[in-house]
């Protein structure tokens, strides 16, 4: 039975159900049992499952990741959380050298069933070291899986899949999605890792995107439809392994590709998808693929600057129109207030995060 709950509650529910059904699952991270419970995603877990399986941790990201790996080698299934993706960069050694390779380099004798929940976000002046989106970094590494669900239902289903998976899974959740609502089945269910979701069926242009950016593309889709332009939105859900078939199938239909990625442009997910389209769907393409992503500079803090850093809905609209050889539009022509700040998810949002 489905009912509407928030993304944050969907994450909490997935964690709860996995901990109920498997005693080897435990969750560890800075602030996991604190009064805010990682933006509500871990609230009440310690009361329910005790201090052994629900733990805070020392601020020592690299060793703690190694410790989670070690526990996984003897049968535990750790979930590790980081309140900012930026903090966990200290643990890249353990993730890339150990977690990602342990299965391979020891001849498939062991596996590391580890989920690392990483929060990414934007806005409210979080600046260069609090708002990076690094999915491409992890997706580059053989041995890791990378998921970044958009909807509350996918957040739950993919987290359960990640916890049940015998490999290290990087689970990236956008802070601006935590408060979004959606229908989520109450019972335990899985969304397969490696399968994209067609968020919207369309015929003119394939727009491949993921996570929070999907919501922006959906906004653009509504504006485009007013001009009779019908885009198909492919929400990747999983970055690695990439659902190549879903992208190819959509391109067979539309012949036009735009990738919108909430991360830096160079060497990122958008580059990979366009390379893939060139290699495998070249014959279907009617126009050169395009991409829209963050400029290759660190995130500026001042909201005056952030307003010129993040792509706007109008940019998505115009990228699609460009693919269709249609004229470029202005925000005022579409009735969008050009002063709309980009450092908050909506006008009602007040910080700090």
């Amino acid at each position: 039975m489905a009912r509407e709950i928030t993304y944050a509650n969907a994450v909490l529910e997935a964690t709860t159900q996995c901990m109920e059904s498997d005693a080897s699952v435990y969750i560890i991270g800075l602030g996991v049992p604190d009064p805010k419970g990682v933006f509500g995603t871990t609230l009440g877990l310690q009361e329910k499952f005790g201090r052994v399986r629900v733990l805070d941790m020392p601020v020592a990201e690299n060793a703690m990741t190694g410790i989670a790996i070690g526990s996984a080698l003897v049968g535990m299934r750790p979930i590790m959380t980081h309140q900012r993706i930026d903090f966990m960069l200290l643990s890249l050694d353990q993730i890339i050298n150990n977690a990602a390779k342990w299965h391979y380099m020891f001849g498939s004798k062991m596996s590391v069933p580890l989920v690392i929940r990483l929060l990414v976000g934007r806005g409210w002046g979080q600046g260069p070291q609090h708002s990076q989106s690094l999915q491409a970094l992890f997706a580059h590494i053989p041995g890791l899986k990378v998921v970044m669900p958009t909807t509350p239902s996918d957040a739950k289903g993919l987290l359960i899949s990640a916890i049940q998976d015998d490999n290290p899974v990087i689970y990236i959740e956008h802070r601006w999605l935590h408060g979004t609502f959606g229908d989520v089945p109450k019972e335990m269910f899985t969304v397969p890792i490696g399968k994209a979701r067609i968020m919207k069926i369309g015929r003119d242009v394939t727009v491949v995107t993921s996570s929070y950016t999907t919501l922006e593309v959906m906004k653009a889709a509504r504006l485009l439809s007013e001009d009779g332009i019908d885009i198909e939105i492919v929400d990747l859900r999983t970055i690695k392994p990439l659902d190549e078939e879903a992208i190819a199938a959509s391109l067979e239909k539309t012949g036009r590709l735009l990738v919108v990625d909430g991360a830096w442009k160079s060497f990122g997910v958008s580059a990979e998808i366009i390379a893939l389209a060139s290699e495998k769907s070249f014959a279907a393409l009617k126009a050169a693929p395009r991409r829209l992503a963050f400029p290759d500079v660190p995130t500026p803090t001042s909201w005056a600057l952030a307003n010129h850093y993040y792509p706007r809905t109008i940019d998505i609209v115009n990228e699609v129109r460009c693919l269709l050889n249609k004229s470029q539009l202005t925000e005022s022509a579409l009735g969008i207030d050009p002063e709309t700040p980009l450092d908050v998810p909506d006008k009602n949002f007040t910080g700090p995060f």
Binding site: M57, P58, G66, I69, V74, M76, D93, G107
Partner: protein
């Protein structure tokens, strides 16, 4: 020290030494195409420590792991096959000398990232504790590993949770060719650092196998009785080059005087003299040991050499479980 324990320690050291020397000999046929970090000169730490461990106890090690692997009971044939890159190697040819594993013997892996396995070993102890099992976990690492952040981080967490883990630092005074003096201040004392976290421990002569054995016995009893982690530091010396089958004194990073001083303290030879002197062992027994070990080595080398390489497609399997 009981006579049978003493003989067993001697035998272990001798076996490790002879295996390493065998590798050095066949290495120059250039069929072992991976780095090898021989532990000749450092055998006492592996032998003395592992003599206190049970099969169910876990060991993780670093790039210089052959001694730890053998002393804990790792398969000799699987090790040679692995170094030769064969499909029946302990890691299926995907690891080589720097990635030895033998789950039946409790060897969960060795890796060449300095200090990389220290937190993993602590995590194994954390898992053991959560599962309420009674084994212990041991991390073998070198002096340079204590310079890495995870060393302090792992001591901190192990002490916080009273984890059944033993941190074993084999101080051979060099990280490749960089001596301790350029890496650590003179007054630095790792044992004090461990104690600063509330971790018990001791340090001493890593070339005296009976000392290592006794220190390790205390550590193992301490960890097994769930009192918490233990730190051991043993001073020792590597005789061969950092990586490879040869000697490398000609590079000039250490003096001949220093080298020969350590050679006089060779853990195997000093112990052999001691046992002969005490009458615990005879030249005849030593020869029997050597003959037996040599047969075992010859068989393992020949087994590995004759074993097939993994099929090319194997390179692409096992990325994901």
């Amino acid at each position: 020290m009981r006579k049978d324990s003493a003989l067993s320690l001697y035998y272990q050291m001798l076996r490790i030494r002879m295996v390493e020397e065998a590798i050095a000999r066949v290495y120059t046929q250039w069929q072992m195409r991976c780095p090898v970090h021989l532990c000749i000169g450092q055998e006492a730490v592996a032998a003395g420590l592992c003599a206190n461990l049970l099969k169910k106890d876990y060991v993780l090690s670093n790039h210089r792991s052959h001694g730890h692997y053998l002393a804990k009971g790792g398969s000799l044939k699987a090790m040679f096959s692995e170094i030769y890159g064969k499909e029946n190697g302990c890691s299926g040819g995907k690891g080589g000398s720097m990635h030895l594993v033998d789950l039946d013997a409790g060897i969960l892996g060795s890796t060449p990232i300095v200090a990389g396995i220290i937190p993993v070993a602590a995590g194994v102890a954390f898992g053991i504790q959560m599962k309420k099992e009674h084994s212990i976990s041991v991390a073998f690492f070198g002096d340079a590993a204590t310079e890495e952040g995870v060393f302090a981080e792992s001591l901190n967490f192990a002490a916080l949770k009273k984890l059944p883990v033993i941190f074993v630092c084999e101080n051979n005074y060099f990280s490749v060719y960089s001596p301790l003096s350029v890496r650590q201040p003179k007054k630095r004392n790792n044992l004090s650092i461990a104690r600063g976290f509330g971790v018990e421990g001791e340090e001493g002569d890593g070339n005296d196998v009976e000392y290592v054995f006794k220190a390790a016995k205390k550590a193992v009893m301490y960890a097994r009785s769930l009192r918490g982690p233990y730190y051991l530091q043993f001073d020792t010396y590597r005789f061969r080059e950092h990586c490879g089958p040869n000697f490398d004194n000609e590079l000039g990073y250490r003096t001949e005087i220093e080298f020969s001083r350590w050679c006089k303290r060779c853990p195997l030879e000093t112990y052999q003299r001691k046992l002969l002197h005490k009458g615990s062992i005879t030249a005849k027994i030593i020869n029997e040991y050597k003959t037996g070990i040599q047969l075992e080595i010859n068989e393992a080398v020949s087994f590995a050499q004759k074993s097939p390489f993994p099929k090319p497609g194997e390179a692409f399997t096992g990325v994901y479980a």
